[in-house]
């Protein structure tokens, strides 16, 4: 059992703990902070898998962008220190039953499926290789989804400004 294995299990336990606290916490600001910690632990798991670029993106976009946006919207819409209302019992029954059944089924599938490793020479997931394949227009190139996602980002930028804009009083 090497050090990276132990670090992986610690990070996995922390990710699950903070994820559970995000879901179960009754105070919404604490839930957002626990979500932030969970995302940081997931970035640590990416670093252990030697996916440095994905880990950097996770930190920059999720932790630096999305969670900050969520915290801003909490400040704009919630009263400070207010607890969320408790759940309805009937809905809570289904909300517990469905994920437990789904988790049991998917773990059964995971433990019974033989995962066979294919492939020969591994590619290093460096920024160099990722960039070369991302902007490649040959076969297995990803330049078309890249452009499509850039149009999507522009559309969501304009759309969110239009939606959140204040209408002029007439």
């Amino acid at each position: 059992m090497s050090a990276s294995t132990i670090i992986f299990y610690i990070l996995a336990a922390l990710t699950l703990t903070f994820g559970a606290l995000t879901v179960f916490s009754r105070k919404i600001f604490r839930a957002a902070v626990f979500l932030l910690l969970s995302l940081i632990c997931i970035a640590g798991i990416y670093i252990l898998m030697e996916m440095d670029f994905v880990a950097a993106l996770q930190i920059v976009i999720y932790v630096g962008g999305i969670v900050v946006l969520i915290i801003f919207s909490i400040f704009l819409t919630q009263k400070a220190g207010e607890r969320l209302p408790s759940r309805l019992p009937k809905r809570l029954l289904w909300a517990i039953l469905l994920p437990v059944a789904g988790l049991a089924f998917s773990s059964w599938v995971i433990f019974n499926h033989p995962f066979a490793q294919t492939g020969t020479a591994p590619i290093e997931p460096t920024v160099h290789n990722i960039g070369l394949q991302l902007l490649n227009y040959d076969q297995y190139g990803y330049v078309l989804p890249f452009e499509a996602v850039s149009i999507l980002l522009l559309a969501s930028l304009v759309g969110s400004i239009i939606i959140a804009m204040k209408k002029k009083q007439q």
Binding site: M1, A12, V23, I28, L35, I70, L103, V149, L152
Partner: protein, 104 residues
Amino acid sequence: MEQVPLTHVLILSSTLFFLGIYGFFSRRNLITMLMSIELILNSININFVAFNKYLYPHQLEGVFFTLFIITVAAAEVSLSIAIIINLFRRFNTIDIEDTNTLKF
């Protein structure tokens, strides 16, 4: 990292996924539902990266899917925050039980 079997990574991601599902079903607040969606998307990202690392190390497809999922998640969050702020301005609440004007 090679000693960790793939099944343990998959168990981690599926547990995180169903935690997100539970939060999505049990909460009535739009922002907490949004946070549950973020948990779900992150568990899917872990899945893609783990499959790329363990099963198909000669390709980079899992990395690209992760990058595109992160981008789409950013777009989705910015739009939904705009919708939530507009909703709060109009109804003075973001509880989905109270915003039922369009409900038949």
